[in-house]
Amino acid sequence: MLKMETVTKAYNHRGPSLTVLSDISVDVPAGDFVSIVGPSGSGKSTLLLMLGGMLSPSSGSVFLDGESLYDLGPDERAAIRRDKIGFVFQMFNLVPYLSAVENVQVPLFLGGMGGEDQRTRAVSLLERLGLGDRLDHKPSQLSVGQQQRVALARVLANDPAVILADEPTGSLDPETSSQAMEFLEQVNREGRTVVMVTHDPQVARRAKRTLRLDGGRILSEKTGRAFVSVA
């Protein structure tokens, strides 16, 4: 489903070139649940953003359903994100001036759904996540855990095949963190492909497999409990 072929990413801002990812190849089949771990600056988030069509590689290719994402224009990639990919952010990234239900409606509205249908689907998703009584609350009126649940509801709004989560539990307490992971496991069981970046080994362990990144390279891959060195 998702595939990276010999991808290198180097930044050239001010001063010498900085290579964040070096000659990375990853294959994520449909229905997989992959966690990516590694120290800060190892290129985890860069890799995730590239998989989501948000950041073009310096060299190499990224494929989604066999289509080379970076051979497409920015607006075509935006359309693919809208239809096939859901992002989960560490800081939730809810629109602060919209209510919970309106935040969930945003991807539906971007997808061209009519106003009434938008609201019906958004309400149903929020109720599924136990926020039926917080529909019209703004993010600032919700707890951190509730905000994360609104963000998760928003991810499911357009029924994406792929969910990319960047530190989904990074801002949560253990209990809420566990709920968020249960959610990701559940959507994975429903058949969605999940790729998650985390620095928390316990959280990473809940994925089907784990990729360890360091110095811009995949150092090892773990399936179940055993790490296999790939370097």
């Binding site: 953003l49 948000m54 359309a79 239809d83 990234n93 919209l98 309106e102 509205f109 106003g115």
Partner: protein, 406 residues
């Protein structure tokens, strides 16, 4: 959820910022609307004053000294009546009324008066229609309505004192000034003998406080005949349209009649022209100021807004919004700001004009709904142009860096 709702909610979320961003354009529109509103009613008031004065342009023989505007035709200097034809057959715009006169002194019951010959408008119309040309054969835009027998009733002869011309006057009819009527004790339909000819008093003219009160008016050609002077006149009185005088009617008449002296009530008209010019320049200056300051203020606000909303823009792009959507989102916001600035500026400017008009210009100022269109169009154009580059910057934001750097 719709784009409109998204933009609307964001505007309300940051009301204070919106207000400060909009302040410059709002104040600019307010001042321009107030100036335009007061100017309009000021011009109208001056035009009415000029109209009330009667003739505001005089065509005189070159050698006449202009010591008294109202008695400039009493100095015995003459020029050919043919000048009237040149004027009436010209393409001059803004000549409302045209009245050639020949004045001769007369003595009645031992008292000295002035017999003034005037040419009724019916004779111009006949001449113009016959020659298919001239100022009375085309529509006039200054409020003068040419009498059409059976359709528009002829105006009473007493209006001569204000309009300077009457529709018709027969050879043996006379119009008597207020002072003359009082002195001689004559009434309408009385017979009066002037220079050996008997006239019937067609009307007693109301008092004007000018030398006209001491005049008796009769048909020009009759007076010319009685005076034995041939087809000559002392003066052509012209009621010129006020704004056409501002646009140079006097020099145009001068070039048409180079042998004559053309004068106007210069002080009144000059003040009017200067006031108009000043107001027009002031409006232009303010327009430039609001375009620059208002535009800069809105652009500054929008750049700040784009910077502040990087995370939101990045999130929307991650959720599938294209660059076109982001551009539309900011331009729609600019459109709403422009509309709000225009409408609020119009309301505040109108209020200011209505309150300050009587105090500053001594005139009553009423709201001018047409200015709302003008205010909104200017305001929206400024807001859209000023917001275009910030909006384009937002549309070109790298969603990835806008998510990562915050």
């Amino acid at each position: 959820m719709q784009l409109r709702k998204l933009v609307w909610k964001e505007l309300f979320e940051r009301k204070n910022q919106v207000f400060t961003g909009l302040l410059a354009i709002l104040l600019g529109i307010t001042v321009i609307v107030a100036i335009k509103n007061i100017t309009f009613y000021s011009e109208k008031a001056v035009a009415q004053e000029l109209d009330a004065l009667g003739a505001n342009i005089l065509v005189l023989p070159k050698s006449v000294l202009l010591e008294n505007y109202y008695s400039a035709d009493m100095q015995g200097e003459e020029f050919p009546e043919e000048y009237v034809n040149r004027l009436s057959q010209s393409n001059l715009q803004g000549v409302d009324n045209l009245s050639p006169k020949l004045s001769v002194p007369v003595e009645i019951q031992g008292r000295k008066f002035t017999l003034t010959g005037i040419l009724p408008k019916s004779e111009f119309q006949a001449k113009a229609a016959w020659q298919a040309a001239g100022i009375f054969s085309r529509p006039q835009g200054c409020g003068t309505v040419v009498a059409i027998p059976g359709l528009i009733p002829e105006q009473p002869k007493e209006t001569l004192v204000r309009t300077r011309v009457i529709e018709s006057l027969s050879d043996d009819e006379a119009l008597v000034g207020g002072d003359v009527a009082t002195s001689l004790g004559v009434k309408v339909n009385d017979a009066v003998s002037l220079m050996g000819k008997s006239f019937t008093v067609a009307a007693i003219l109301p008092q004007t406080g000018t030398v006209d009160d001491s005049r008796i008016f009769a048909h020009l050609h009759t007076v010319q005949q009685l005076a034995g002077k041939g087809r000559v006149i002392n003066v052509i009185e012209i009621v010129g349209c006020c704004d056409q005088i501002s646009k140079g009617l006097v020099p145009k008449i001068n070039s048409l009649l180079p042998e004559a002296k053309v004068v106007t009530i210069t002080q009144v008209v000059d003040t009017q022209i200067k006031t108009n010019r000043m107001m027009s320049n002031l409006s232009f200056v303010f327009l430039v100021v609001i375009v620059l300051v208002g535009g800069a203020s809105i652009a500054n606000y929008m750049y700040g807004n784009v910077y502040e909303r990087r995370r939101e823009i990045g999130t929307l792009m991650a959720l599938g919004a294209g660059s076109g959507f982001v551009l539309r989102m900011f331009l729609l916001k600019a459109l709403l700001l422009g509309l709000a600035g225009g409408v609020a500026g119009y309301l505040m400017g109108t209020l200011l004009a209505v309150i300050l008009g009587p105090k500053l210009a001594g005139i009553i100022v009423l709201p001018m709904p047409i200015l709302v269109i003008w205010a909104v169009v200017i305001s929206v154009i400024i807001a859209l142009v000023a917001s275009y580059f910030p909006a384009r910057r937002a549309a070109r934001l790298d969603p990835c860096s806008s998510l990562q750097e915050i």
